[in-house]
Amino acid sequence: MLKTFKIGGVHPHEWKLSAEKQIEVLPLPKRVSVPVTQHIGAPAKPLVKKGDIVKTGQMIAASGGFVSANIHSPVSGKVFKVDQTVDASGYRKPAIIIDVDGDEWLDDIDRSDKLVKEITLSGEEIIKKIGEMGIVGMGGATFPSHVKLSPPPGKKCEILIINGVECEPYLTSDHRLMLEKSEELIVGIRILMKALNVNKAVIGIENNKPDAIKKLTELTSKEEGIDVQPLKVKYPQGGEKQLIDAITGRQVPSGKLPIEVGAVVQNVGTTVAVYEAVQKNKPLIERVVTVTGPAIAQPSNFLARIGTPIEQLIEAAGGLPQDTGKVIGGGPMMGKALTSLEVPITKGSSGLLVLPDEAAHRQPVKNCIRCSKCVSACPMGLEPYLLMIEAEKEMWDRAEEDRIMDCIECGSCSFTCPAHRPLLDYIRLGKGKVGQIIRSRQ
């Protein structure tokens, strides 16, 4: 029996169209737009102004607090302006817009492909470096990595878990990274282990990526303390709490962080970025993005600079199909529908999914037939049907009692509902309201 998490879960069709496609380097765009909020936490403060000349890798916005991240210029060129631009959700947010001119990197960045295995920095220096280089969780949550690597006093990390699950349908960027940057990944794990001062690391990979499991098992057979754990395919295995449960059998208590059970989880992409930051001095200025969809001519994995308009990525994958109905930033289960194609790639963009019009619409909502399929699907052991009613009827105290704040917004309930009820829409709304109430109480 392969390991997996214990409660709930669903089995969406996989549609990994781009799994066999090598990572291609995307040509530089003419103009990039780099938002100052690409992470959870305080926005970064811009350090440049209109007309400044910047080099690739130069810091252009400084971290705005402890939970925040530095932002570096992904290109070289001239700052066109620092202004509001429309972001993925249609709100206007400040961004630094740079006109690209050549590709001149900062001198201290090592751009060679040579694998640097020896880790010279100490644990603390590594965490500081990761913070300086603006590394954030690249699985989509964009939580600043240096914060995650600094456990609160009194808590000790016992195991490092590397998230190579990629349970979202369609997405393949982590899969490709594991195949093409496997050695860098292993060094990255070593760096993280040193920073956390742990001697055990497990790479969790779902069983639908046998090539990645094989390659990494071969590589780690020589490595002390690093193991590969194949996992049974089930969504949302890539959720932090579910992955810890699957690998260690420990469940993070309600409202607590993974460190409570002695675990720290990092995404594969983040780990490779950590390697590049610590060993090559390269800030987080580019990432692998899967561009895919049923009607996309060439589903691909691109290495794209942060700030590249998504239009350009879709163009490179064969252009936007005629009957496009929806463009999603991220995967189909948790991704965000985008309001326009002008929005840029950010640190958290793991993929772009283009859905045709027929697949873009929701079905009409019917009565709840109380089939309890949402209850069996919920990986957190909640009752989505009840939480939706409570959110609709504004029964916030009851919703809190029924642990609405535990919801990880994986979408398994809405995915599975035979009556097509917008369960997660209302639960998310309720989470917002209950969160406000809890905060105001403190």
Binding site: Q84, S89, Y426, R428, L429
Partner: protein
């Protein structure tokens, strides 16, 4: 015959016993309550709308009786009339409040504000605002999903299907403020009702720069400041590229209305002007 008699007697006895028990219990567990609470509750409108900030009229009545100074407590539904009666009962002073009314500060109809995408989620403004900025280029304007209409307890609002915007029915609106709280975009404001219901307000809350706002919506306030210059009473301020008319200072001279280049300033319930062809808001729904 004796059966009937026994039955009657038993039942009568049981009834009498129960009455005694109930009487004793009611005496034993009696809670003293200020009789004025009932009197005050009697004059309150019993709408239980929460517009006063208390959970229902009973709670408000209790607060009124308990408070030493009731001048900062107000029933928006009953207005001065009801508060006057309350003050009479309690023998306390009440602040004179001017009647207010809810005003929808967005005129982004389908023709003024082209739709760029299509929302298909839960039909709730709160849910939509957590997700994204809106179907149009304006991320400040109305979603048109009717959270305010749902919140209204007085049938004072409806969604105009043609414009996709909520409309306030002036006769029904009691200014309880439920819609103001329900709107995630803070579009609805309680403003002074004005003499003969005449009001002037900026029907836009877009804080973008003029060009951006104008591109998203043809009737957006572009923050040009012409209205502020022309206003003889200093009632208009420009903040974050957005004009705001202070209803305390405004004397309803209507100079700003004519001045606004995007027709963002609306006048309500004024007689039609003779020389101007540009008639602004159609305030006819209320009739």
């Amino acid at each position: 015959m004796s059966i009937v008699l026994i039955t009657i007697l038993t039942l009568a006895g049981l009834g009498a016993l129960a009455a005694v028990i109930l009487y004793l219990a009611s005496q034993k567990f009696k809670v003293f309550e200020d009789p004025r609470i009932d009197q005050v509750e009697e004059v309150l409108p019993a709408a239980n709308c929460g517009g006063c900030g208390f959970p229902g009229c009973r709670a408000f009545a209790e607060a009124l009786v308990k408070a030493d100074d009731i001048s900062d407590l107000n029933c928006p539904v009953g207005g001065a009339e009801v508060m006057g009666k309350v003050a009479q009962i309690l023998g306390k002073e009440v602040a004179k409040s001017e009647p207010k009314i809810a005003v929808v500060r967005c005129n982004g109809t389908c023709e003024h504000r082209p739709r760029l995408n299509q929302y298909e989620g839960a039909p709730s403004c709160a849910a939509a605002s957590a997700l994204y900025g809106g179907e149009t280029g304006c991320s400040f304007g109305c979603y048109g999903l009717g959270d305010c209409v749902d919140a209204c307890n007085f049938d004072a609002m409806y969604m105009d299907e043609k414009t996709g915007l909520p409309v306030v029915i002036e006769d029904n609106c009691v200014a309880c403020g439920a819609c103001v709280d329900a709107c995630p975009k803070n579009i609805i404001e309680l403003r002074k009702k004005g003499p003969k219901n005449r009001r002037i307000f900026v029907s836009c809350v877009n804080e973008e720069k003029g060009a951006v706002a104008r591109k998203a919506c043809s009737v957006a306030c572009i923050g040009c400041g012409k209205c502020a210059k022309v206003c003889p009473f200093d009632a208009i301020t420009i903040k974050n590229n957005l004009a705001y008319i202070d209803d305390e200072k405004c004397r309803l001279c209507r100079k700003c209305v004519a001045e606004c280049p995007t027709n963002a300033i609306h006048e309500l319930n004024f007689p039609v002007r003779k020389n101007k062809t540009a008639v602004k808001e159609t305030a006819t729904e209320e009739k």
